[in-house]
Symmetry: D2
């Protein structure tokens, strides 16, 4: 229990796994949170000192007990990485109120619920890091992103509000804007003709995410955009 604790919410085969590995390699005990028990188990076995917690971010009312278990089993959270985020596409015609709500629950409400759980201990510790993984859609409501863009805009606004409010408590809140396609088995299959360099590497994203937690408080970053060098933006 003497290692600092990093909780990664929304670990899958891409960014989440890379965040977990990176923080583990830098000396953190990593709490892995996701809906899918099998993915979690596999990662838990791969990453030394990590622990899996089954958690569905859309069930915001269960955030309390989940984070209590993390605290009891691992210690107070020093770094929270909120990586949950679903990429539902479609225009307003394609978007049911249910889909619209689900997107918002994953990206915005779930983020609020987790953040509220870690604040008391971060305040006690007189510091901490909250990093939320966003997307370019947070900045622009594209025609075919009615649900996803709106949910990400809600998320970014919330995180900005948190950053402004929590800075003076030395809690460093950041928002990472991923601009491009992440290198995953799934995305490679969808775009088999794209060259390697078209894709964002999760390990490289994790590198920059980790460095945010190392910035001295006199020069903190709130928003960090990340894209592949050849991206057309």
């Amino acid at each position: 229990m003497s290692k600092p604790v990093c909780a990664v919410v929304g670990v899958g085969p891409g960014n989440g796994a890379s965040f977990a590995r990176k923080f583990a390699s830098e000396g953190y005990a990593v709490a892995l949170l996701a809906r899918n028990k099998d993915t979690l188990k596999e990662l838990e076995e791969q990453i030394p000192g990590s622990k899996a917690f089954v958690y569905d971010v859309t069930a915001a009312e269960k955030a309390g007990e989940t984070f209590e278990r993390i605290k009891a089993e691992m210690g107070p959270v020093e770094v929270l990485v909120y990586n949950a985020g679903s990429g539902m596409f479609g225009s307003i015609d394609d978007t049911t109120p249910e889909a619209f709500e689900s997107s918002w629950r994953v990206n915005a409400l779930g983020c609020l619920a987790c953040a509220k759980q870690v604040l008391p201990d971060m305040r006690k510790a007189k510091g901490g890091n909250i990093i939320v993984i966003g997307a370019t859609a947070s900045l622009r409501g594209g025609a075919n992103f009615a649900a996803f863009a709106s949910a990400k805009a809600a998320q970014r606004s919330l995180v900005q509000s948190m950053a402004r409010h929590l800075g003076s408590d030395r809690i460093h809140v950041s928002y990472v804007i991923i601009d491009g396609v992440i290198d995953l088995e799934r995305t490679r299959q969808m775009m088999p003709d794209k060259p390697d360099e078209y894709f964002l590497q999760p390990d490289h994203i994790a590198e920059s995410v980790f460095l945010l937690t190392r910035q001295p408080p006199s020069a903190w970053t709130f928003e960090l955009d990340l894209r592949p060098f050849g991206e057309n933006w």
Copy 2:
């Protein structure tokens, strides 16, 4: 039933009443939607040719039957003004998940639900207007606006997505950014020392909102900010 129909969602004593009066005076039959039966009745009596419909925007699942009644009693909606929006204040510490959700339901989900109801008839008519009343908070997550700013950002993103998607169907979607305090009994009591010119006049807001519906399709505005001349912004 030969007058064009304008539906104002969220009519209260301020902007909503002014929108209703303005569109009525320009020859529209106005459907008045709000939760509060008494406010609605009073307005219905004041505004010739208007009709009141009790509707709670947070009950998105009732949008269908409400708009069917409007259509049956008044005709297809040509102009939708979405004015619902609650101003809950507070930082993340003050914001429960319930309050965060309620704010989003009023501002974002309710807007989606109403917009989806009017699209089929607007498409049949080969045109229409959807105007959503936003706020500066949609652009900036202030420390003490965790719920309101996030909900307004979600709203603005959705409306932008709608504007991009619906333009080619000649449905003109606009977002009005109110930047300042509206002149209401309530706001005057909260700020008794402010001069008249500190406040936005609802009738003046209504003037610009109405003119959006008169723009020819070769030069449409999506976003319109409105503030008093002396506002410090």
Copy 3:
């Protein structure tokens, strides 16, 4: 000399001519400013009560004498429309320091110079309108707009600063963001295959520009975007 005076800087065959005609039809004496004597003469003959003034906006040092002549011959300016703006394209590789400077002189420095000339009389009159015609490029530095986007960004920032500073003097400063291609002989020749509805009509732009000067001071717009309904944005 009893008509209110509107000065349009940068009148050519497109927007500038439409602004001049619109304000003339609404009862203004219109001062026409441009480099090209022949264009000016033609417009002066077409528009009753207008007067031509040869003026090169890049020669900021001549703004004083030009606006003194306008005042002497027509009266103090009540509405200034700054429409000068050149569309130089190209990446940093294509952009010489000279071209970069020239673009900035037309869009930003020339705007400052003209605005400074009309402020004293607007203050004396306890009101006035300054409208600057911008472009989407003011919001985004595209790869092939190194000079134009930078000049427009400089212009927009200046105009925003003016709006904030001059509001309390009841001088209404607005920025119009044209998003699309204007219908001109030149643009039609460049894009012969585009349908009519692809283009922004200068007369429709002029309509919205004029209405900005009619907004009551309790609800002023700073930024107004205008685009054709079918624009892909």
Copy 4:
């Protein structure tokens, strides 16, 4: 001549000196560029392997010969840090065309001129880094920042255009948004009552600036904001 070369344009006692020291400590030969010979000499003596070049960024026409000397004496530039930027304050009333122009020359034209000098060698080397030090004023035209905000907006737009254009050549272009007051003898004298933690530390800024040059090309940052934890933003 075998060390990689970093050129810092605009070295003074604050950020510039810290950038120079940081890159020198990481193995770079540092070219120091500034107007003031005495400041330069002092730094040159303090920083091993650095070389001073007297250069006035407003004399864009001299960029060619200055960068040729750097190349001849030190080798091709691998990292360019453009730190020149003057903080002229005042509203449009306080801003002469000359002051407006001077601000733009330092921040925007000077940046273009230096960037154009280093591009050929970066392309030959199939990579390089250009980092431009900006400010919050680049995003917002405040009432009392008519010249400074406009110049910084012009700079940011140019740098964004460069980033988009040069990415595919593996030239990483970034813009750093300093949001707050830098810790300098001068700023301490101006604000003697502020606590230490009010100020941005130049060495901490330099840390993040250096790390931008270490990002792998699959996940590059364009814009990085930096502010003290207690900043009210």
